[in-house]
Protein backbone atom coordinates (compact mmCIF):
# COMPACT_ATOMS: atom_id res chain seq x y z
CA UNK A 1 0.00 0.00 0.00
CA UNK A 2 2.70 2.36 0.93
CA UNK A 3 6.05 1.91 -0.72
CA UNK A 4 6.35 4.87 -3.06
CA UNK A 5 9.63 6.52 -4.01
CA UNK A 6 10.49 9.89 -5.58
CA UNK A 7 12.07 9.73 -9.03
CA UNK A 8 12.92 12.18 -11.79
CA UNK A 9 11.68 11.97 -15.36
CA UNK A 10 14.75 11.66 -17.57
CA UNK A 11 13.24 10.54 -20.86
CA UNK A 12 9.92 10.81 -22.60
CA UNK A 13 8.58 8.62 -25.40
CA UNK A 14 7.03 10.60 -28.28
CA UNK A 15 5.00 7.58 -29.42
CA UNK A 16 3.82 6.87 -25.88
CA UNK A 17 2.75 10.08 -24.14
CA UNK A 18 1.61 8.30 -20.96
CA UNK A 19 4.98 6.64 -20.37
CA UNK A 20 8.31 8.01 -19.20
CA UNK A 21 11.70 6.80 -18.06
CA UNK A 22 12.18 7.71 -14.42
CA UNK A 23 15.50 7.77 -12.55
CA UNK A 24 16.00 7.01 -8.87
CA UNK A 25 19.67 7.74 -8.03
CA UNK A 26 20.82 5.83 -11.09
CA UNK A 27 18.15 3.12 -11.23
CA UNK A 28 15.82 3.57 -14.16
CA UNK A 29 12.42 2.17 -14.93
CA UNK A 30 9.72 2.84 -17.45
CA UNK A 31 6.81 4.32 -15.52
CA UNK A 32 3.17 4.74 -16.51
CA UNK A 33 1.97 8.34 -16.30
CA UNK A 34 -1.67 7.43 -16.92
CA UNK A 35 -2.81 8.45 -13.43
CA UNK A 36 -1.43 11.95 -14.04
CA UNK A 37 -3.02 12.33 -17.47
CA UNK A 38 -5.00 15.42 -16.42
CA UNK A 39 -1.75 17.29 -15.94
CA UNK A 40 1.04 15.26 -17.49
CA UNK A 41 4.44 15.83 -15.93
CA UNK A 42 7.37 16.52 -18.21
CA UNK A 43 11.15 16.17 -18.52
CA UNK A 44 12.92 16.97 -15.25
CA UNK A 45 9.76 16.76 -13.13
CA UNK A 46 9.83 14.74 -9.94
CA UNK A 47 7.09 12.18 -9.41
CA UNK A 48 6.16 9.69 -6.71
CA UNK A 49 6.36 6.13 -8.05
CA UNK A 50 4.32 3.20 -6.78
CA UNK A 51 4.14 -0.19 -8.56
CA UNK A 52 5.42 1.32 -11.79
CA UNK A 53 2.89 4.20 -11.87
CA UNK A 54 3.43 7.89 -11.17
CA UNK A 55 0.98 8.78 -8.38
CA UNK A 56 1.64 12.46 -7.93
CA UNK A 57 3.94 15.26 -8.95
CA UNK A 58 6.26 16.30 -6.16
CA UNK A 59 6.22 19.97 -5.34
CA UNK A 60 9.75 21.26 -4.72
CA UNK A 61 8.23 24.39 -3.23
CA UNK A 62 6.15 22.50 -0.69
CA UNK A 63 9.13 20.32 0.17
CA UNK A 64 11.32 23.36 0.76
CA UNK A 65 8.54 24.94 2.82
CA UNK A 66 8.36 21.87 4.94
CA UNK A 67 12.09 21.78 5.51
CA UNK A 68 11.97 25.43 6.59
CA UNK A 69 9.21 24.62 9.06
CA UNK A 70 11.08 21.66 10.39
CA UNK A 71 14.28 23.62 10.84
CA UNK A 72 12.41 26.16 12.88
CA UNK A 73 10.93 23.62 15.25
CA UNK A 74 11.75 24.45 18.81
CA UNK A 75 12.06 28.19 18.24
CA UNK A 76 9.72 30.72 19.80
CA UNK A 77 6.02 29.83 19.68
CA UNK A 78 5.37 33.26 18.20
CA UNK A 79 7.61 32.53 15.26
CA UNK A 80 5.81 29.23 14.77
CA UNK A 81 2.44 30.89 14.43
CA UNK A 82 3.51 32.63 11.24
CA UNK A 83 4.32 29.40 9.53
CA UNK A 84 1.65 28.16 7.19
CA UNK A 85 -0.46 25.30 8.43
CA UNK A 86 0.18 25.96 12.12
CA UNK A 87 -2.66 28.42 12.66
CA UNK A 88 -4.02 26.56 15.67
CA UNK A 89 -3.50 29.35 18.14
CA UNK A 90 -5.66 31.82 16.29
CA UNK A 91 -9.43 31.65 16.21
CA UNK A 92 -9.81 29.06 13.49
CA UNK A 93 -12.69 26.64 13.37
CA UNK A 94 -12.01 23.14 14.60
CA UNK A 95 -13.68 21.77 11.53
CA UNK A 96 -11.78 21.17 8.34
CA UNK A 97 -13.20 22.89 5.31
Amino acid sequence: MCLAIPGQIVELYPDSPTAALVDVVGVRRRVDLGLLQDELPTMGDWVLIHVGFAMSKISEEDAADQMRTLRMLGEAEAAMQEVEGYGLDNAESAKAD
Binding site: L3, I5, V24, V25, G26, V27, R28, R29, H50, G52
Partner: protein, 364 residues
Protein backbone atom coordinates in the same frame (compact mmCIF):
# COMPACT_ATOMS: atom_id res chain seq x y z
CA UNK B 1 29.03 -25.09 3.16
CA UNK B 2 30.28 -24.72 6.72
CA UNK B 3 32.63 -27.44 7.82
CA UNK B 4 33.79 -28.80 11.08
CA UNK B 5 37.29 -28.17 12.32
CA UNK B 6 37.96 -31.80 13.21
CA UNK B 7 41.09 -33.88 13.31
CA UNK B 8 41.41 -36.00 10.16
CA UNK B 9 41.26 -39.64 11.19
CA UNK B 10 44.30 -41.79 10.42
CA UNK B 11 44.06 -45.56 10.04
CA UNK B 12 44.59 -46.44 13.68
CA UNK B 13 41.91 -44.14 14.98
CA UNK B 14 39.22 -45.15 12.49
CA UNK B 15 37.83 -47.66 14.96
CA UNK B 16 37.51 -44.90 17.48
CA UNK B 17 35.60 -42.79 14.97
CA UNK B 18 33.27 -45.61 13.96
CA UNK B 19 32.35 -46.33 17.53
CA UNK B 20 31.41 -42.69 17.98
CA UNK B 21 27.69 -42.90 17.40
CA UNK B 22 26.18 -40.01 15.48
CA UNK B 23 24.11 -37.60 17.56
CA UNK B 24 20.35 -37.77 17.22
CA UNK B 25 18.85 -35.83 14.32
CA UNK B 26 17.07 -32.71 15.59
CA UNK B 27 15.72 -31.54 12.21
CA UNK B 28 12.00 -32.25 12.36
CA UNK B 29 10.63 -30.64 9.19
CA UNK B 30 8.93 -33.17 6.89
CA UNK B 31 10.57 -32.07 3.63
CA UNK B 32 13.16 -29.79 2.15
CA UNK B 33 11.95 -26.38 1.06
CA UNK B 34 13.64 -23.62 -0.96
CA UNK B 35 14.24 -21.67 2.25
CA UNK B 36 16.65 -24.38 3.41
CA UNK B 37 19.07 -23.35 0.69
CA UNK B 38 18.83 -19.61 1.17
CA UNK B 39 21.59 -19.31 3.74
CA UNK B 40 19.40 -17.95 6.52
CA UNK B 41 17.74 -19.48 9.55
CA UNK B 42 16.21 -22.42 7.71
CA UNK B 43 19.58 -23.39 6.22
CA UNK B 44 21.18 -23.24 9.61
CA UNK B 45 18.54 -25.53 11.08
CA UNK B 46 19.10 -28.08 8.36
CA UNK B 47 22.86 -28.04 8.76
CA UNK B 48 22.90 -28.06 12.55
CA UNK B 49 19.96 -30.38 12.94
CA UNK B 50 20.66 -33.01 10.30
CA UNK B 51 24.05 -32.76 8.63
CA UNK B 52 26.13 -32.07 11.69
CA UNK B 53 24.73 -34.82 13.92
CA UNK B 54 25.10 -37.46 11.22
CA UNK B 55 28.29 -36.43 9.44
CA UNK B 56 30.57 -34.75 11.87
CA UNK B 57 32.55 -36.04 14.78
CA UNK B 58 30.61 -35.49 17.93
CA UNK B 59 33.81 -34.61 19.77
CA UNK B 60 34.05 -31.22 18.18
CA UNK B 61 32.32 -28.31 19.84
CA UNK B 62 33.89 -25.76 17.53
CA UNK B 63 31.61 -23.49 15.56
CA UNK B 64 31.12 -24.24 11.86
CA UNK B 65 33.20 -22.10 9.52
CA UNK B 66 33.53 -21.66 5.80
CA UNK B 67 36.47 -24.01 5.57
CA UNK B 68 38.18 -26.66 7.65
CA UNK B 69 41.81 -26.64 8.65
CA UNK B 70 42.99 -30.22 8.96
CA UNK B 71 46.18 -31.55 10.42
CA UNK B 72 47.98 -34.46 8.71
CA UNK B 73 50.89 -35.44 10.91
CA UNK B 74 51.89 -31.85 11.43
CA UNK B 75 51.07 -30.60 7.92
CA UNK B 76 48.11 -28.26 8.00
CA UNK B 77 45.84 -28.08 5.01
CA UNK B 78 42.74 -25.96 4.52
CA UNK B 79 39.83 -27.37 2.56
CA UNK B 80 36.48 -26.03 1.47
CA UNK B 81 33.64 -26.96 -0.84
CA UNK B 82 30.87 -24.96 -2.42
CA UNK B 83 28.23 -25.18 -5.11
CA UNK B 84 27.09 -22.54 -7.53
CA UNK B 85 23.56 -22.24 -8.78
CA UNK B 86 22.83 -18.90 -10.39
CA UNK B 87 20.36 -17.53 -12.87
CA UNK B 88 21.19 -15.91 -15.24
CA UNK B 89 24.55 -17.60 -15.86
CA UNK B 90 26.06 -14.42 -17.17
CA UNK B 91 25.54 -10.93 -15.73
CA UNK B 92 27.28 -7.55 -15.65
CA UNK B 93 30.63 -8.02 -13.91
CA UNK B 94 30.87 -11.77 -14.22
CA UNK B 95 29.35 -15.18 -14.65
CA UNK B 96 28.94 -18.46 -12.84
CA UNK B 97 32.46 -19.59 -13.77
CA UNK B 98 34.07 -16.63 -12.02
CA UNK B 99 31.80 -16.95 -9.01
CA UNK B 100 32.88 -20.57 -8.67
CA UNK B 101 36.58 -19.76 -8.59
CA UNK B 102 36.41 -16.58 -6.54
CA UNK B 103 33.88 -18.04 -4.12
CA UNK B 104 36.16 -20.97 -3.38
CA UNK B 105 39.27 -18.83 -3.05
CA UNK B 106 37.35 -16.50 -0.75
CA UNK B 107 36.02 -19.23 1.52
CA UNK B 108 39.62 -20.35 2.06
CA UNK B 109 40.89 -16.79 2.39
CA UNK B 110 38.48 -15.84 5.16
CA UNK B 111 39.39 -18.98 7.03
CA UNK B 112 42.97 -17.69 6.93
CA UNK B 113 44.32 -19.78 4.06
CA UNK B 114 45.71 -19.27 0.60
CA UNK B 115 44.00 -21.35 -2.11
CA UNK B 116 46.45 -23.51 -4.03
CA UNK B 117 44.31 -25.90 -6.07
CA UNK B 118 40.72 -26.74 -6.92
CA UNK B 119 38.79 -29.60 -8.38
CA UNK B 120 35.53 -28.88 -10.16
CA UNK B 121 32.35 -30.79 -10.96
CA UNK B 122 30.00 -29.73 -13.70
CA UNK B 123 26.41 -30.92 -13.73
CA UNK B 124 25.21 -29.98 -17.19
CA UNK B 125 21.69 -29.90 -18.53
CA UNK B 126 21.15 -31.73 -21.81
CA UNK B 127 20.48 -29.11 -24.46
CA UNK B 128 22.97 -26.63 -23.03
CA UNK B 129 24.50 -24.86 -26.04
CA UNK B 130 28.23 -25.48 -26.31
CA UNK B 131 29.17 -21.79 -26.69
CA UNK B 132 27.52 -21.13 -23.32
CA UNK B 133 29.54 -23.89 -21.67
CA UNK B 134 32.71 -22.75 -23.37
CA UNK B 135 32.21 -19.19 -22.15
CA UNK B 136 31.83 -20.35 -18.56
CA UNK B 137 34.81 -22.66 -18.65
CA UNK B 138 36.89 -19.92 -20.22
CA UNK B 139 35.77 -17.53 -17.47
CA UNK B 140 36.75 -20.09 -14.85
CA UNK B 141 40.15 -20.59 -16.39
CA UNK B 142 40.77 -16.86 -16.50
CA UNK B 143 39.61 -16.37 -12.94
CA UNK B 144 41.78 -19.23 -11.72
CA UNK B 145 44.87 -17.86 -13.41
CA UNK B 146 44.16 -14.43 -12.00
CA UNK B 147 43.74 -15.83 -8.51
CA UNK B 148 46.82 -18.02 -8.78
CA UNK B 149 44.86 -21.23 -8.27
CA UNK B 150 45.55 -24.46 -10.12
CA UNK B 151 42.55 -26.40 -11.38
CA UNK B 152 43.79 -29.87 -10.74
CA UNK B 153 40.94 -32.08 -11.83
CA UNK B 154 37.23 -32.37 -12.36
CA UNK B 155 34.16 -34.40 -13.16
CA UNK B 156 31.21 -33.97 -15.49
CA UNK B 157 27.69 -35.29 -15.41
CA UNK B 158 24.89 -34.58 -17.81
CA UNK B 159 21.29 -34.68 -16.64
CA UNK B 160 18.04 -34.54 -18.55
CA UNK B 161 16.68 -31.31 -19.85
CA UNK B 162 14.88 -29.54 -17.04
CA UNK B 163 16.92 -31.09 -14.23
CA UNK B 164 19.51 -28.35 -13.95
CA UNK B 165 19.30 -24.64 -14.75
CA UNK B 166 21.76 -24.97 -17.67
CA UNK B 167 24.54 -25.94 -15.29
CA UNK B 168 25.47 -26.39 -11.67
CA UNK B 169 29.10 -26.12 -10.62
CA UNK B 170 30.60 -27.60 -7.47
CA UNK B 171 34.14 -26.95 -6.35
CA UNK B 172 36.50 -28.21 -3.70
CA UNK B 173 39.46 -26.05 -2.92
CA UNK B 174 42.56 -26.79 -0.87
CA UNK B 175 45.13 -24.39 0.40
CA UNK B 176 47.81 -23.48 2.87
CA UNK B 177 46.94 -21.75 6.15
CA UNK B 178 48.51 -18.32 6.23
CA UNK B 179 51.04 -17.83 8.97
CA UNK B 180 50.13 -15.61 11.85
CA UNK B 181 46.36 -15.90 11.48
CA UNK B 182 44.06 -17.73 13.85
CA UNK B 183 40.45 -17.29 12.86
CA UNK B 184 37.98 -18.34 15.55
CA UNK B 185 34.59 -16.87 16.39
CA UNK B 186 35.10 -17.81 20.03
CA UNK B 187 38.01 -15.38 20.30
CA UNK B 188 35.74 -12.42 19.54
CA UNK B 189 35.07 -10.26 22.58
CA UNK B 190 33.32 -7.01 23.51
CA UNK B 191 35.26 -4.00 22.31
CA UNK B 192 36.41 -5.62 19.08
CA UNK B 193 35.73 -3.64 15.92
CA UNK B 194 33.80 -4.77 12.84
CA UNK B 195 35.48 -3.95 9.53
CA UNK B 196 33.85 -4.03 6.07
CA UNK B 197 35.92 -3.90 2.89
CA UNK B 198 33.57 -1.87 0.70
CA UNK B 199 30.10 -1.15 -0.68
CA UNK B 200 27.49 -3.84 -0.15
CA UNK B 201 24.70 -5.19 -2.28
CA UNK B 202 26.27 -4.82 -5.73
CA UNK B 203 26.19 -8.51 -6.61
CA UNK B 204 22.71 -9.37 -5.39
CA UNK B 205 21.08 -6.33 -6.96
CA UNK B 206 22.93 -6.91 -10.25
CA UNK B 207 21.55 -10.46 -10.38
CA UNK B 208 18.04 -9.32 -9.46
CA UNK B 209 18.07 -6.74 -12.23
CA UNK B 210 19.69 -9.13 -14.71
CA UNK B 211 16.81 -11.57 -14.34
CA UNK B 212 14.69 -8.97 -16.10
CA UNK B 213 11.42 -9.58 -14.24
CA UNK B 214 11.46 -6.20 -12.54
CA UNK B 215 12.23 -4.12 -15.62
CA UNK B 216 14.81 -2.02 -13.77
CA UNK B 217 18.06 -0.81 -15.28
CA UNK B 218 21.10 0.42 -13.47
CA UNK B 219 24.79 0.87 -14.02
CA UNK B 220 25.75 -1.89 -11.64
CA UNK B 221 28.12 -4.83 -11.78
CA UNK B 222 28.70 -7.84 -9.63
CA UNK B 223 31.63 -7.28 -7.26
CA UNK B 224 32.98 -10.82 -7.74
CA UNK B 225 36.70 -10.95 -7.07
CA UNK B 226 39.27 -12.80 -4.99
CA UNK B 227 39.63 -11.22 -1.55
CA UNK B 228 42.87 -13.09 -0.88
CA UNK B 229 45.07 -10.03 -1.58
CA UNK B 230 43.12 -8.14 1.07
CA UNK B 231 43.47 -10.94 3.59
CA UNK B 232 47.20 -11.12 2.95
CA UNK B 233 47.54 -7.35 3.34
CA UNK B 234 45.56 -7.45 6.58
CA UNK B 235 47.52 -10.41 7.90
CA UNK B 236 50.76 -8.61 7.24
CA UNK B 237 49.63 -5.41 8.96
CA UNK B 238 47.71 -6.83 11.88
CA UNK B 239 47.72 -10.63 11.89
CA UNK B 240 47.55 -11.17 15.66
CA UNK B 241 44.59 -8.81 15.93
CA UNK B 242 42.32 -10.50 13.42
CA UNK B 243 39.80 -12.64 15.27
CA UNK B 244 37.28 -13.58 12.61
CA UNK B 245 36.56 -13.09 8.94
CA UNK B 246 33.73 -13.92 6.58
CA UNK B 247 32.79 -13.20 2.99
CA UNK B 248 29.15 -12.05 3.25
CA UNK B 249 27.60 -13.95 0.35
CA UNK B 250 24.05 -15.21 0.37
CA UNK B 251 22.05 -13.52 3.12
CA UNK B 252 24.40 -10.57 3.16
CA UNK B 253 26.24 -8.84 5.98
CA UNK B 254 23.21 -9.36 8.25
CA UNK B 255 23.40 -13.13 8.04
CA UNK B 256 27.17 -13.35 8.51
CA UNK B 257 27.11 -11.09 11.55
CA UNK B 258 24.08 -12.83 13.07
CA UNK B 259 25.93 -16.13 12.79
CA UNK B 260 28.93 -14.56 14.46
CA UNK B 261 26.82 -13.05 17.22
CA UNK B 262 25.36 -16.44 17.93
CA UNK B 263 28.72 -18.22 17.78
CA UNK B 264 30.52 -15.79 20.07
CA UNK B 265 27.60 -15.06 22.40
CA UNK B 266 28.02 -11.29 22.07
CA UNK B 267 26.00 -8.48 20.57
CA UNK B 268 27.05 -6.52 17.50
CA UNK B 269 26.29 -2.85 17.08
CA UNK B 270 26.56 -1.28 13.63
CA UNK B 271 26.31 2.41 12.77
CA UNK B 272 24.14 2.85 9.73
CA UNK B 273 25.85 5.89 8.25
CA UNK B 274 29.23 4.12 8.20
CA UNK B 275 28.04 1.30 5.96
CA UNK B 276 29.07 2.04 2.35
CA UNK B 277 26.37 1.47 -0.28
CA UNK B 278 26.46 2.56 -3.91
CA UNK B 279 23.70 4.97 -4.89
CA UNK B 280 22.20 2.61 -7.45
CA UNK B 281 22.06 -0.23 -4.92
CA UNK B 282 20.39 2.10 -2.48
CA UNK B 283 17.93 3.29 -5.12
CA UNK B 284 17.03 -0.26 -6.12
CA UNK B 285 16.61 -1.28 -2.49
CA UNK B 286 14.39 1.71 -1.71
CA UNK B 287 12.27 1.02 -4.80
CA UNK B 288 11.90 -2.67 -4.00
CA UNK B 289 11.68 -2.40 -0.23
CA UNK B 290 14.90 -4.34 0.38
CA UNK B 291 17.64 -3.86 2.97
CA UNK B 292 21.21 -3.78 1.55
CA UNK B 293 22.35 -5.65 4.66
CA UNK B 294 20.48 -8.73 3.42
CA UNK B 295 21.80 -8.66 -0.13
CA UNK B 296 24.51 -11.04 -1.38
CA UNK B 297 28.07 -9.89 -2.07
CA UNK B 298 30.70 -11.87 -3.95
CA UNK B 299 33.76 -9.72 -3.45
CA UNK B 300 33.59 -8.21 0.01
CA UNK B 301 35.06 -9.07 3.35
CA UNK B 302 33.93 -8.71 6.92
CA UNK B 303 36.49 -8.88 9.69
CA UNK B 304 36.41 -8.56 13.45
CA UNK B 305 39.59 -7.04 14.74
CA UNK B 306 40.99 -6.30 18.19
CA UNK B 307 40.46 -2.59 18.85
CA UNK B 308 44.17 -1.71 19.00
CA UNK B 309 44.61 -3.12 15.49
CA UNK B 310 41.42 -1.76 13.95
CA UNK B 311 42.76 1.40 12.33
CA UNK B 312 45.89 -0.32 11.06
CA UNK B 313 43.84 -3.06 9.47
CA UNK B 314 41.42 -0.66 7.87
CA UNK B 315 44.32 1.38 6.56
CA UNK B 316 46.03 -1.68 5.09
CA UNK B 317 42.80 -2.66 3.39
CA UNK B 318 42.23 0.83 2.03
CA UNK B 319 45.65 0.78 0.36
CA UNK B 320 44.89 -2.50 -1.37
CA UNK B 321 43.29 -2.25 -4.86
CA UNK B 322 39.52 -2.32 -4.51
CA UNK B 323 39.65 -1.73 -0.76
CA UNK B 324 39.54 2.06 -0.89
CA UNK B 325 36.09 2.16 0.73
CA UNK B 326 36.95 -0.05 3.68
CA UNK B 327 35.25 1.14 6.83
CA UNK B 328 34.91 0.29 10.45
CA UNK B 329 31.16 -0.20 10.62
CA UNK B 330 30.60 -1.19 14.20
CA UNK B 331 31.75 -3.00 17.27
CA UNK B 332 31.15 -6.01 19.43
CA UNK B 333 29.28 -5.49 22.66
CA UNK B 334 28.33 -7.66 25.60
CA UNK B 335 24.61 -6.97 25.12
CA UNK B 336 22.22 -7.64 23.59
CA UNK B 337 23.88 -11.02 23.31
CA UNK B 338 23.39 -12.91 20.08
CA UNK B 339 21.74 -9.96 18.37
CA UNK B 340 22.83 -7.51 15.68
CA UNK B 341 21.58 -3.95 16.15
CA UNK B 342 21.90 -1.02 13.74
CA UNK B 343 21.83 2.51 15.10
CA UNK B 344 21.07 5.69 13.21
CA UNK B 345 22.83 9.01 13.61
CA UNK B 346 19.83 10.46 15.43
CA UNK B 347 19.69 7.77 18.10
CA UNK B 348 17.12 5.37 16.70
CA UNK B 349 17.92 1.69 16.51
CA UNK B 350 16.58 -1.50 15.02
CA UNK B 351 17.48 -5.16 15.10
CA UNK B 352 18.79 -6.68 11.88
CA UNK B 353 17.98 -10.35 11.79
CA UNK B 354 18.86 -13.21 9.48
CA UNK B 355 16.30 -13.67 6.78
CA UNK B 356 14.14 -16.74 6.55
CA UNK B 357 14.59 -17.20 2.80
CA UNK B 358 15.78 -14.93 -0.01
CA UNK B 359 14.90 -11.24 0.16
CA UNK B 360 11.73 -10.52 -1.82
CA UNK B 361 10.72 -7.18 -3.34
CA UNK B 362 7.66 -5.63 -1.76
CA UNK B 363 5.23 -2.86 -2.61
CA UNK B 364 3.64 -2.28 0.79
Amino acid sequence: MPQNNAQAPDASSLDGVRSNLPSPVRFREPQIEMAHGAGGKASRRLVEGLFVPLLFSSSSSEPLGDAAHLDFDGTRIAITTDSFVVKPLHFPGGSIGELAVNGTVNDLAVSGARAEAMVVTFVLEAGLPTPVLEAEVRAMGDAARKAGVRIAGGDTKVVEHGKADFMYITTTGIGRPLPGLTIDARSVRPGDKVLLSGPIGDHGVTILLARGDLDLEADLRSDTRSVLPWVEAMAKAAGPGIRWMRDPTRGGVATSLNELARDCGCGILLTEESIPVHDAVRGACELLGLDPLHIANEGQLLAVVAPEYADTTRHALSLSPGGENARIIGEVRQQPAGVVVVTTSYGGSRIVDMLVGDPLPRIC
